[in-house]
Symmetry: C2
Subunit: 231 residues, 2 copies
Amino acid sequence: MLQQAAVQIATTRAPLKFSQQVPAANAGRHGLTDTIEMMGVQMSFARNSEIYGENEPADYLYKVASGAVRTYKVLADGRRQIGAFYLPGDTFGLESGDIHAFSAEAVVDSKVVVIKRSALIGLAARDNDVARQLWVLTSCELRRVQDHIMLLIKTAQERVVGFLLEMAARMPSDKQIELPMSRQDIADYLGLTIETVSRTLTQLENSAAIELATSRRVVLRNRVALSRLNG
Amino acid sequence: MLQQAAVQIATTRAPLKFSQQVPAANAGRHGLTDTIEMMGVQMSFARNSEIYGENEPADYLYKVASGAVRTYKVLADGRRQIGAFYLPGDTFGLESGDIHAFSAEAVVDSKVVVIKRSALIGLAARDNDVARQLWVLTSCELRRVQDHIMLLIKTAQERVVGFLLEMAARMPSDKQIELPMSRQDIADYLGLTIETVSRTLTQLENSAAIELATSRRVVLRNRVALSRLNG
DNA sequence: CGACCATTTGATATGGATCAAGCGATGTGG
DNA sequence: CCACATCGCTTGATCCATATCAAATGGTCG
């Protein structure tokens, strides 16, 4: 259970207010991600609360401290596509231009460090290293979305396996996966239905490739078999 | 017919050799895209010839002068996914990190302006404006890939309509579309088969939403209907 | 214990893939 | 200039992976 005792600043929308001002001088000495942590403000978001909405100005950059975040878009008819899951250490909110293309929500109760984009961009104007790192961050995001596209053209089994391997690679222990998100979240990330995700998981368990310790805890039993199923 | 009389420097792979050196001083006075045009070298690529390959070092940045370019990836079993089509004026090759995630080919005989990435990055180190524009370019690409994902979760009809509207928006005349790419290219961009693309187009023609003047020339007859079908 | 929500499992439907054939435009050689 | 080969596109028939609809199970919290 990820329930935290900490202050819940926001339940539905972040009241973004900043007083902190850190001299930019030492920013270049660290990764951008550290800069965010140093200059930013930590906020808590309850499970399923909105961090920002699609089409809002992208005034802030975010880094997950604990918990998990999903970005998503909803089509006119209600179909939802999840763009990405962000885990502790991941930076998000830098999708593209000045307007968010996706909405962001906490998957579980989460803590997120927030920093004003303008502050970083101002910093970048003076410090090439910050500029370079903002670019690198965007490039990483681009790569991730490209990989996501490659997932979406595969069969259901390949998508689920790909998802598990991706999550495993991003987890502290890469043998045991603790999934913060529901089957519906996974389905909406993979462009499948919950039923198909569920069936595919049982099927993988029956073939001894994985073990479902609980519905949210997956053990990778046979990585070779999984890689083979990954297309 | 797009056959050009100009020098065909490369048929399969670009022999990348540069002698030109332009002083960086005036680069900031223009868009990055103009900088590329000024500092770069124009090369010709025959229809279907490779511009660069997946996993090659991304040493160059490219701008389409004429023709059209596709980027793509092929999975182990032969499935091909087209990542994007680039038309005259578009910049490509900046997908992400230092290694190309996709391969690039000329869709039709094309002319492409090529510039050394390292030259631009060196320029960016001295000129914030260049740095910013490299970032903007990457952000635009990111947005494009995100839009592509939203296409891929839709129905076949919505994908085809989305593709037509996207192409129309990028064409000089947005009423009449001259498609440089084959049905197979479109299918691989949309994650469909040629048969489904073809059937969907005839179906759109039967419903008077479009007209297929020739198989490569599409006239948008009823934009409202198309938007309605776009999901 | 009982209500609620997430997940799994089962039965059936369907959109798009696959397999197969026909057609039309373009180019080539006789 | 025409017959024919080729290639890209369209159309038709059938199949199958995944969606949809429906119900049962299980885990969590009051």
